[in-house]
C-alpha cells in the first residue's frame, strides 16, 4: 500500500525522532510502565506508523465490505443499511414468567429474542429428576415438554421475530419443539428465522453442558445441518462460540483460534457425512465475546472474519459468497464485570458495545450491571439495552463502514491476531483436529494457563480493575436484585405429572422406540425427534433414549 522509497525515508525519520526528541523526554520522564500490553497480554508498541503495516495489501487483506475476505464487514452497507439485531439473552423460572419478560423486551425495542434455558434443560434432564433439584428455573427457563414451549412463545408470532436459543447437546429436541410450536401457530418451518447454539465442542472445552460423547454429538449436529437445509432454510444451524472460551479465561487470539478450529471440525464432519459444503456453510454463524480492550477487540473481529473466509475458500473450496462470510453475534464480557461498585459495569459494557459495533457484529447482547451479583433485574436489563441504543443512535460510529480500518495500530494488530490464531490452528491440526485436541486436554490447558496468569496479574496489581483492586470504597449492600421463586421446581413437577396423565402414552412409547432404533442406525434423527416431541414426550425421555444408545461423555479433568 506504501511506496518503498517513502517507507525508507519514514524509517530514517522515525530513527531521528527516537534518538532525538523521544530519547530526551524519556530521560527526563520515563513512561508509566516498562512494558505495555493489550488486555490479552500482547505487547503494544509506543507508536504505529506505515512501517508496521508495510506488507498490507489493500485488495488482498481488506477488500470492500460484502466482498472477500470480508475484513471490512459482511454487508456492503453495514449499519447504514440496517442496525445490528439487539438481542438480549433472557429467560428464568417458568415458561409463563419468561414469556412475560420476552414481551416486555419486545415492547422496549429489542429486535430478536434469545432464550436462556435452565441447566437441567441444557443437559437433557426433566425438572422432576433428582439431579435437577435446586437448579430448575435458575439460569434460564425450564422446558420439559412441548407444552412448556407453547407457553414460552404464547402471543409471540414466530414468523415475525427471530429467536436464538442457547441450547447445545439437546439442540435437536428444542429445535423440533420450536418448529412444532410454529406449526401450531400456522407458521411453516421455511419461514422460521433464528439460531440454535448447537456447538458441542466448546461445551467440552469451556461451558460444560455436554451429554453425549463426541461422535454421536457430531452426528446430531450434521443431522441438523442436513435437515435444516431442506426444511428450515433460514435457520442458523449452529453458533460456533468463542464467547465461553474467552469467559473461561482465553486470550483474544485463543478465542479466534479455538472457535475457528471448532468450526473447521464441524465443516469437516459435515463434508465427511456427504454434505456439500455450499449447502450448509451459508447457515453457519459465530458468537464472540467483547472485552474491555477496545482496539484489540475490534482487531479480533476483523481478523476472525478474514481468517474464516480464507479457511473456507482455501481449505474447503467453498464457492458461495455466503459460505465464506463469518457472521457473528456478540455478547459483552460477563467475566469483566465486578461485584464491587456495580454501576461501573455500565461503562465497561458501553466500551465493549463500541468494540462489537466497530468490529462489525450482526447482533449484540449487552450484559447487565448486576450480573456479578445475581440474575439481572428488569431495570438493569433496560439500561443494558439502552446502552446499545445510545451507541446505535447517538455515537456516530454507525454512519460509515469499518471506521477504524487504516489505523496503523488496528491493522497491525489485526495481522498479528490472525497470525497468532493461525499458529494455534496449525498446532491443533497437528494434534488431529479440535476433537482430538480437546480429548488430549490441550485446548483446556492453554485456556487455564491464560486464566491463571490473568488472576495473578490482578492480584499483584499489574492489571488494574477499577473498584476491585484499586479505587475501592466501602459499599452498602446491593438492593433490587432478582430472586427466582424456589417454588418453580415444584410447579414444573406438577405440570409434568399432569402431562403424563393426559397425553397418549402409547404414542409416546412408540415414537421413543422408533427414535431408539433410528439412533442405532444411521438415519437422520430430526424427523424421529420431531414425532416424539409432537406426542409430548419430555425432553428427559428423549435424551434418555439417546443416552441409552450413545452413552455419555466423560470429562477429561485437566488442572
Amino acid at each position: 500500500m506504501f511506496d518503498k522509497g517513502k517507507l525508507n525515508q519514514l524509517q530514517s525519520q522515525k530513527d531521528t525522532w527516537e534518538e532525538g526528541k523521544l530519547k530526551k523526554v524519556l530521560e527526563k520522564r520515563p513512561e508509566r510502565k516498562k512494558e505495555f500490553t493489550t488486555g490479552s497480554n500482547k505487547e503494544v508498541g509506543r507508536l504505529y506508523t506505515p512501517l508496521d503495516v508495510a506488507d498490507l495489501d489493500y485488495e488482498r487483506d481488506l477488500g470492500f465490505p460484502g466482498e472477500y475476505p470480508y475484513t471490512r464487514g459482511v454487508q456492503p452497507t453495514m449499519y447504514r443499511g440496517r442496525l445490528w439485531t439487539m438481542r438480549q439473552y433472557a429467560g428464568f423460572s417458568t415458561a409463563e414468567e419468561s414469556n412475560e419478560r420476552y414481551k416486555y423486551l419486545l415492547e422496549q425495542g429489542t429486535t430478536g429474542l434469545s432464550v436462556a434455558f435452565d441447566l437441567p434443560t441444557q443437559i437433557g434432564y426433566d425438572s422432576d429428576y433428582p439431579i435437577s433439584e435446586g437448579e430448575v428455573g435458575k439460569v434460564g427457563v425450564a422446558i420439559d415438554s412441548l407444552e412448556d414451549m407453547e407457553i414460552l412463545f404464547k402471543d409471540i408470532p414466530l414468523d415475525k421475530v427471530s429467536t436464538s436459543m442457547t441450547i447445545n447437546a439437546p439442540a435437536a429436541v428444542l429445535l423440533a419443539m420450536y418448529i412444532a410450536v410454529a406449526e401450531k401457530q400456522g407458521v411453516s418451518a421455511d419461514k422460521l428465522k433464528g439460531t440454535i447454539q448447537n456447538d458441542i465442542l466448546k461445551e467440552y472445552i469451556a461451558r460444560g453442558t455436554y451429554i453425549f460423547p463426541v461422535q454421536p454429538s457430531m452426528r446430531l449436529i450434521t443431522n441438523i445441518f442436513e435437515y435444516c437445509h431442506k426444511e428450515v432454510p433460514k435457520w442458523n444451524t449452529i453458533s460456533i462460540s468463542g464467547y465461553h472460551i474467552r469467559e473461561a479465561g482465553s486470550t483474544a487470539a485463543q478465542e479466534i483460534a479455538f472457535t475457528l478450529a471448532d468450526g473447521i471440525a464441524y465443516v469437516q464432519a459435515a463434508i465427511d457425512a456427504g454434505l456439500d459444503v455450499d449447502d450448509f456453510a451459508p447457515r453457519l454463524s459465530f458468537f464472540f465475546n467483547s472485552h474491555n480492550d477496545l482496539l484489540e477487540e475490534v482487531a479480533k473481529f476483523r481478523a476472525a472474519r478474514r481468517l474464516w473466509a480464507r479457511i473456507m475458500k482455501e481449505r474447503f473450496g467453498a464457492k458461495k459468497e455466503k459460505s465464506l462470510m463469518l457472521r457473528f453475534h456478540t455478547q459483552t464480557g460477563g467475566s469483566t464485570l465486578t461485584a464491587q461498585q456495580p454501576e461501573n459495569n455500565v461503562v465497561r459494557v458501553a466500551i465493549q458495545t463500541l468494540a462489537a459495533v466497530l468490529g462489525g457484529t450482526q447482533s449484540l447482547h449487552t450484559n447487565s450491571r448486576d450480573e456479578a451479583l445475581a440474575l439481572p433485574s428488569e431495570d438493569s436489563v433496560r439500561i443494558a439495552l439502552r446502552t446499545q441504543q445510545i451507541v446505535a443512535y447517538e455515537s456516530g460510529v454507525t454512519e460509515t463502514i469499518d471506521p477504524l480500518a487504516g489505523s496503523y495500530y488496528v491493522e497491525s494488530l489485526t495481522n498479528k491476531l490472525e497470525e497468532d490464531a493461525l499458529e494455534y490452528i496449525n498446532k491443533i491440526d497437528s494434534l488431529g483436529g479440535a476433537p482430538k485436541a480437546i480429548e488430549k486436554g490441550y485446548i483446556q490447558k492453554e485456556i487455564q494457563d491464560s486464566a491463571y496468569t490473568y488472576q495473578k496479574q490482578i492480584e499483584n496489581e499489574e492489571r488494574i480493575v477499577v473498584g476491585m483492586n484499586k479505587f475501592m470504597i466501602e459499599e452498602p449492600k446491593p438492593t433490587g436484585l432478582l430472586k427466582v421463586d424456589p417454588a418453580v421446581g415444584k410447579l414444573q413437577k406438577e405440570k409434568l405429572a399432569k402431562l403424563k396423565e393426559t397425553r397418549d402414552n402409547q404414542l409416546v412409547n412408540k415414537n421413543l422406540e422408533e427414535l431408539s432404533k433410528a439412533a442405532e442406525g444411521e438415519a437422520n434423527l430430526m424427523p424421529y425427534i420431531k414425532e416424539a416431541v409432537k406426542a409430548y414426550a419430555t425432553l428427559g425421555e428423549i435424551c434418555d433414549v439417546l443416552r441409552e444408545v450413545f452413552g455419555e461423555y466423560q470429562q477429561n479433568i485437566i488442572l
Binding site: 441447566l119 437441567p120 441444557q122 443437559i123 434432564y125 439431579i131 435437577s132 433439584e133 435446586g134 437448579e135 435458575k138 439460569v139 461445551e203 469451556a206 461451558r207 460444560g208 453442558t209 469467559e247 473461561a248 479465561g249 467475566s335 465486578t338 461485584a339 464491587q340 456479578a372 451479583l373 445475581a374 440474575l375 487455564q448 486464566a451 491463571y452 488472576q455 490482578i458 492480584e459 476491585m468 483492586n469 449492600k477 446491593p478 436484585l481 430472586k483 427466582v484 424456589p486 470429562q555 479433568i557 488442572l559
Partner: protein, 131 residues
C-alpha cells in the same frame, strides 16, 4: 501433623463454569496445599464420599448457577449424617448477600464472592482448618 493441608475443590450441581474452581485449585496448590479436583456435575453425595476417601481438611465448593441454597446445605447434612465435624467447608460463586447468613447457619464456614483475591481464602483455610 506436618502433612500438607488437603483440600477438595468441588463443583456441585449442573453448573459448568469451572474457571474459578480451577484457578482456585491452582492457587491452593501453589500455596503448598494438596488439591483434589473432582470435576463437573458432582452430587453432594459424591463430594462427601470423595472428601472422606481423600481424608481432606477442607471442602471448597463453587457454584455460579444459583443452586447454592440447595446444594451447599445438602453437603453439610451429609457430613453430619456421617458424623464428620472436622472438615472445614467453604463456598464461593455468585451468591447474593441475603443468602450468605442462612448458608452460614447451615454450617458453611465462609462464602467468598466474585472479586475475592486468592490470598484471602488461602489464608482463611490456613487459619481455620480443624486439626
Amino acid at each position: 501433623m506436618d502433612r500438607p493441608i488437603r483440600v477438595l475443590v468441588g463443583k456441585p450441581g449442573l453448573d459448568g463454569h469451572d474457571r474459578g474452581a480451577k484457578v482456585i485449585a491452582r492457587a491452593l496448590r501453589d500455596a503448598g496445599m494438596e488439591v483434589i479436583y473432582t470435576g463437573l456435575r458432582q452430587t453432594p453425595e459424591q463430594i462427601v464420599e470423595a472428601a472422606i476417601q481423600e481424608d481432606v481438611d477442607c471442602i471448597a465448593m463453587s457454584i455460579l448457577s444459583g443452586a447454592h441454597n440447595h446444594l451447599f446445605p445438602r453437603v453439610m447434612e451429609l457430613l453430619k449424617e456421617e458424623k464428620i465435624d472436622d472438615i472445614l467447608v467453604i463456598g464461593g460463586g455468585v451468591v447474593p448477600d441475603d443468602d450468605i447468613q442462612p448458608l452460614k447457619d447451615a454450617g458453611i464456614a465462609e462464602i467468598f464472592t466474585p472479586g475475592t483475591p486468592t490470598t484471602t481464602f488461602i489464608n482463611y483455610i490456613k487459619e481455620n482448618i480443624i486439626r
